[in-house]
């Protein structure tokens, strides 16, 4: 792993670790939210499709957090990182922890995330850190399909019935203030970008705007104006919802310390 060693020397290892946590935590928390639908989706075909997306995200979690543990070098596994950190140490976007709401809101959250995720993973395929590039290569194909599906649904539900249009517009307006965080540069982001490890978050904004604007127009939905944007997820300052997600997600590991499953 000569190239990996070179990268680690060039960039602060902690910054790479934090970045990998953010990728893994996004997948973990959103995968968790999607898995809550299993058995309750509005149609059987939809139940199966959503589970596929959730499975992809859980798989990505294992890869990102696995690499995070490796880079950290303290012997923590992906499972250790998923089940033994408190909310303050989670780095996921606030968008991913938003409650599911109705199925339309889940679809809208997915679309807003998928558009970003797809662009981010596509850029990461060229990461100078080869292990990151390898994960992104696999994950970007999955994200591409996720985006196709969530985009198709946003268009159909936006331009469906009067009720579905109203629901989708409400979901969009409600979630919009959580989209800005995807494009905010943190201090370490410049360093990662300079070393070619990961793109600057802000650099993805134009592409995302175009993707989203096109789909929303086709969906006959009104793109909200960028106003106040919530932030904090990437620094570990979350909404109240994450605590409950973790209480569930980590229950067994916490209740039976040291047990293997």
């Amino acid at each position: 792993m000569a190239s990996a060693t070179a990268t680690e020397a060039a960039v602060d290892r902690a910054a790479v670790f934090e970045f990998l946590l953010s990728m893994g935590d996004n997948a973990l928390i959103l995968g968790h939210r999607l898995s809550e639908w299993c058995g309750h989706a509005p149609a059987l075909e939809e139940d199966i499709a959503l589970a596929n997306t959730a499975l992809d995200l859980i798989g990505q979690t294992q890869l990102w957090l696995g690499l995070a543990g490796e880079i950290e070098g303290k012997g923590r596994s992906a499972d250790d990182l998923a089940h033994h950190r408190d909310a303050l140490e989670f780095r996921n976007l606030l968008l991913t922890e938003r409650p599911n709401g109705d199925y339309g809101k889940t679809v809208m959250r997915q679309f807003l995330f998928d558009a970003w995720h797809y662009l981010c993973l596509t850029a990461l395929r060229d990461s100078s850190e080869t292990r990151i590039a390898a994960i992104a290569e696999k994950a970007s194909k999955e994200a591409s399909y996720h985006l196709e599906r969530s985009r198709d649904l946003v268009i159909r539900l936006g331009d469906g019935t009067a009720e579905s249009h109203t629901r989708m517009q409400a979901a969009l307006d409600d979630l919009w203030p959580y989209t800005g965080e995807m494009f905010m540069n943190e201090a370490s982001d410049a360093e990662l970008a300079a070393a070619g490890v990961a793109p600057q978050p802000a650099s993805l904004k134009n592409g995302w705007d175009a993707l989203v604007a096109e789909a929303l127009a086709e969906a006959t939905l009104k793109k909200p104006v960028d106003g106040y944007m919530h932030k904090g997820g990437k620094r570990g300052v979350h909404t109240e919802h994450l605590g409950y997600v973790l209480a569930e997600l980590q229950f067994l590991q916490r209740a039976y310390p040291g047990a293997t499953w």
Partner: protein
């Protein structure tokens, strides 16, 4: 079983000589091991019984998502979470294959849902029991899927083509389900004493309901005899239950767990185990809607359906709009 006590409307099983020529030809084809296909002539009783059986089977898969789905968000590791989610997703898929098989008999999926939601159609009694610990996920895979496989493997040879083909696909996909359950318990019995206690507790609670899955003895049942004549049921309930016990007892021994039956002992003469009688009163209460989770399970299915109505309608509306737009504008 996933389809328990399916009625056939038959007062008794007719002999070939009593049948009219069409029905006789039909029965002779079944006796010769031929498959019956959707558009072919079939007795009304055969069609109705199949609809009941296949839809009950499908409902069981769909309701069966719920007890296991209950633990997806709390699975102990990322790998266990993915496996469980994939398994519960498979069950949705199996429900889908089965609904499609029933649809070839002239009933719509919506009608079958309506029968489920109104309480008119039944589903397997087993899914009205709660999953109280992670070990229950192991017990369900090991015992409940184990019992289901006993029934489903012979159904691959059933006389109705679409049902038989659905079962072939289902059996192929389900081969990992029982193993994943056993694997969960293997890990737990080798773990801490608390984990082992959870495993034993799960076996204590799931053993008898699993035996009940096969339904009460049907050796004297005319419905069962008719279903067997039609080759949509291949073995008697007692036969399958015996086979299940014989297969499962050594597995429990391997795990070091105790089956909660004081009457269980090896019978050298019959080459199988003797075992106690399940509490059939409990079984009939559960079937009648009084099990620990009947209200929640059906409530969850109803709510998913009702809450999703706007979503399904919107997609239909969009498809209609898109189709209209795609039509060429009429010339003046």
């Amino acid at each position: 079983m996933y389809a328990q006590m399916v009625k056939t409307d038959a007062p008794r099983v007719k002999s070939l000589d009593e049948m009219d020529p069409q029905e006789r030809a039909f029965q002779e084809r079944i006796d010769a091991g031929q498959k019956i296909e959707p558009k072919e002539w079939m007795p009304e009783g055969y069609r109705k019984t199949l609809i009941r059986q296949i839809s009950q089977h499908a409902h069981s898969e769909i309701v069966g998502q719920l007890p296991e789905g209950n633990w997806i968000t709390r699975a102990p590791t990322l790998e266990r979470k993915a496996i469980l989610l994939a398994k519960v997703q498979d069950e949705a898929g199996h429900g889908l294959y089965l609904y499609c098989a029933a649809e070839t008999l002239g009933i719509s999926r919506d009608e079958m849902y309506e029968q489920l939601h109104s309480g008119k159609a039944k589903y397997s009694s087993i899914f009205n029991y709660p999953t109280l610990s992670w070990a229950d996920i192991g017990a369900i895979g090991w015992l409940v899927d184990g019992a289901a496989i006993m029934n489903q493997v012979p159904l691959q040879r059933c006389s109705y083509g679409p049902y038989s083909r659905a079962m072939i696909r289902i059996c192929k996909e389900e081969s990992f389900h029982q193993r994943q359950g056993f694997d969960i318990l293997m890990k737990m019995v080798k773990g801490t004493s608390a984990q082992k206690a959870l495993a034993q507790d799960a076996l204590n609670r799931w053993w008898w309901p699993s035996l009940m899955m096969f339904g009460p003895s049907d050796d004297a049942s005319v419905h069962s005899a008719q279903s067997m004549a039609w080759k949509i049921k291949q073995n008697s309930n007692d036969e399958l239950r015996q086979k299940f016990v014989d297969q499962t007892v050594p597995q429990a021994e391997y795990l070091g767990l105790t089956i909660p039956d004081a009457d269980l002992r090896w019978n050298e003469a019959k080459g199988g185990y003797d075992f106690g009688e399940p509490d059939w009163n409990e079984f009939f209460e559960v079937i009648a809607g009084n099990g620990p989770c009947n209200a929640e399970r059906l409530g969850a299915r109803r709510q998913a359906w009702e809450d999703g109505a706007w979503f399904r309608d919107a997609l239909t509306a969009h498809a209609e709009k898109a189709a209209r737009r795609a039509q060429p504008v009429a010339a003046e």
